[in-house]
């Protein structure tokens, strides 16, 4: 058996042109005043940058033009994503909408929903967040209890979502909600696109251990949303959310989001690096190179219309391990005073502290390995 179907990544002919143009764009538009923002860059919210990126045609790349998209090819988009991440560009504000909310609307949404949201997503001026986890429902997502009750005027939403990255800057949340009273587990769930400005929505920050505000609690108290806010089929929320998660797990951010630290460390090592630092760099680069091969294979499989869910889980798990190992391996061999204010020290200190979250967010390590085990027929 071969667990991981290796799909050759046929880079498009214009690959080097895409990189050259995007690198030129970044040289002009990527903020430079705080190098530390390049670490863990896909959680950096920069609405100005996202709007500039949207203007330049780098968002909604695969979407129909009539919704503000650019009808480009999947592998062209992949090249754009990996260039943005390798550069440590602040892509956090638009990332979720571009990666999953938009595509989900294209797959399951109504024409009205597409017209209402996709142009803003593609312009990088409208942002979305993911409404999945609840205080009682983390890894066991099927146990969600937030409810939607149908009335003549629309759906009434009650409940709470938690760990909602970017809710405080988002316009809408795509939420998984129990729409059939008394239903259990995966049955009776639906997805709704909830406008976060509506009365009854309260957003409270959750400050992470590093002192940053990405996460939020979002409370819904009798929030009335239009009937047209239902996305896809009533009761098919679990299947739709599963499709959404596959999109969430299959990109290069799973191994490239800390690249700024690796690049910085290589430059700081210079031409006179001691043997153990040279060897550490060699090990890290070989791991990163391998992850790129694997990530490209996932992208190629997705582009061919197949479902890479086991492969995506493998790459995410390995990527998480690599990104957690990166600051630790550097700290082991580089005698770096973490307080010296250098770029390397600040990047290192940042990534050490945010790294526990890598194997938790978007599916914990234990869950991912369970998905892989199921894919192998063990469960």
């Amino acid at each position: 058996m071969q667990t991981f179907a290796v799909h050759p990544f046929e880079a498009p002919d214009n690959a080097s042109d895409i990189r050259r143009d995007l690198r030129a764009f970044l040289a002009q538009h990527q903020p430079t005043e705080d190098p530390v923002k390049r670490a863990n860059c896909w959680t950096e919210f920069d609405p100005e940058f996202s709007a500039a990126l949207g203007s330049a045609g780098y968002l909604g790349m695969l979407w129909p033009k009539r919704y503000g998209g650019h009808e480009r090819a999947p592998l062209e988009r992949y090249i754009v994503l990996e260039e943005l991440l390798a550069a440590g560009a602040p892509v956090g504000a638009h990332w979720i909408a571009d990666r999953q909310t938009g595509p989900l609307l294209l797959r399951y949404g109504t024409e009205e929903q597409r017209e209402q949201y996709l142009p803003g997503f593609a312009a990088g001026t409208m942002y979305a967040c993911i409404g999945l986890s609840e205080p009682g429902s983390g890894s066991d997502l099927a146990s969600v209890r937030a409810s939607a009750r149908r009335t003549d005027n629309g759906w009434v939403i009650n409940g709470q979502k938690v760990w909602t990255t970017g809710a405080h800057i988002s316009h809408a949340m795509l939420a998984l909600v129990r729409s059939e009273e008394g239903s259990e587990r995966q049955a009776g769930l639906s997805q709704f696109l909830i406008d976060l400005d509506l009365p009854g929505v309260t957003i409270r920050p959750i400050i992470d251990m590093f002192g940053t505000h990405h996460f939020n609690e979002v409370f819904f108290e009798d929030v009335l949303i239009p009937h047209g806010a239902l996305v896809g089929t009533e009761g098919a929320g679990w299947k739709q959310a599963t499709a959404e998660l596959a999109l969430e797990r299959s990109g290069p951010e799973r191994y490239l989001s800390s690249h700024a630290l690796l690049a910085e460390m290589i430059d700081a090592a210079g031409s006179d690096a001691p043997p153990d630092l040279t060897a550490t760099i060699g090990r890290l680069v070989s791991e990163m190179w391998t992850l790129r091969q694997m990530s490209m294979s996932v992208a190629a499989k997705l582009a061919s219309g197949e479902d890479p869910s086991v492969e995506a889980s493998i790459v995410k798990d390995l990527g998480n391990t690599f990104e957690q190992e990166l600051p630790l391996a550097i700290q082991a061999v580089v005698d770096c005073d973490l307080a010296d204010g250098s770029n390397q020290a600040r990047l290192l200190a940042t990534l050490l502290q945010v790294s526990p979250s890598f194997s938790l967010r978007g599916g914990t390590r234990e869950i991912l390995r369970g998905i892989i085990a199921r894919g192998l027929g063990l469960r």
Binding site: M1, T3, F4, A11, A15, G282, R283, W289, A373
Partner: protein, 304 residues
């Protein structure tokens, strides 16, 4: 075709297996069609060598194919098995009628006397003292790297085979009233084994693609080194996991797991161990610099 043939040749000694492999003309795999070869590329060779590893063949098929291609590159021919010799010796040297090594910055074809020894898996790992009868091939290549290519392609198949054994065994063996595979800790271990097998398979493909693009003269050494280094880690982790989920039975002579794992344990040291490639990849990366690393990695996979 190769899968079926190799399944039959499994457990056969070299003397029985080799004539059948020769008859199938694998040596012509990389030779162009217009020169009466199969016109295959390094991706094809990677696929064949994966099967060699999967079926634990006792035969230096990869070295044979590569030696023929190296000779072809110099417009030379030599019938029979020609072994590759790097600083650590010549795998299967005792079966060879000639040897390819590096001398004075170029590949050389020579004959010589062989001192026999064995790998941990009991396969020939001989050393050769060349006599004066040496012909230069006129160009250079990295023999150690080419041996590395063979080993990580073989490892891709061997880890896949070990994974298959692990799944089958844990699905059948019951303790505490249920199959081992129903225990979450066992599932997680097997998932980790699958992850390592996946990494090696992808790395091998990436290295083969680099060889197809840059040729065998040494330009693909970055990818070969990265793949071998990653494979060395996978061998370390994967062999341990495979044995752990098998319990005591996997440690016996009778059970087929050791045919895979003992070979892999030796392969980690062949074609460059971790320190060797970590140093080379590290040096290359430091030369490229931080931004240069990304630029080079992407340039090397983008269309020219």
């Amino acid at each position: 075709m190769a899968d079926g043939l190799f399944a039959q040749l499994r457990r056969q000694a070299f003397a029985e297996a080799w004539p059948q492999l020769e008859e199938a003309d694998f040596g012509l795999l990389l030779i162009p069609e217009d020169r009466d070869g199969f016109g295959g590329d390094w991706g094809d060779l990677a696929a064949v060598l994966r099967l060699v590893g999967k079926h634990a063949l006792a035969a230096p098929l990869g070295e044979h194919v590569i030696a023929q291609a190296l000779l072809f590159g110099a417009e030379l021919e030599h019938s029979g098995f020609v072994a590759l010799a790097d600083g650590n010796g010549a795998p299967w040297g005792r079966e060879a009628s000639a040897f390819i090594c590096q001398r004075d910055g170029k590949l050389a074809l020579g004959t010589g006397s062989v001192t026999q020894s064995e790998s941990p898996a009991g396969e020939p790992r001989d050393s050769v003292a060349l006599d004066g009868n040496v012909t230069s091939l006129g160009y250079d290549a990295d023999v150690k790297a080419l041996i590395a290519f063979c080993r990580f392609c073989q490892t891709a198949g061997a880890l896949d085979a070990a994974l298959e054994l692990a799944i089958e065994y844990t699905g059948q063996r019951e303790q505490f009233g249920r199959p081992l595979s129903k225990f979450q800790s066992v599932q997680q271990s097997i998932a980790l084994l699958a992850i390592e097998a996946a990494a090696v398979n992808c790395a091998a493909q990436g290295a083969a693609a680099a060889l197809d693009r840059f040729g065998m003269g040494g330009e693909a050494n970055f990818e070969i080194g990265a793949a071998k280094l990653r494979t060395n880690t996978a061998i370390k982790t994967g062999c341990a996991l495979a044995h752990q989920v098998h319990g005591a039975i996997g440690f016996t002579q009778d059970y087929p797991l050791h045919e895979l794992t003992r070979r892999m344990m030796g392969w980690r040291s062949e074609g460059g161990n971790d320190a060797y490639w970590a140093n080379r990849i590290g040096q290359q990366t430091l030369q490229w610099g931080g931004a240069g690393l990304w630029h080079e990695m992407t340039r090397r996979t983008d269309p020219a």
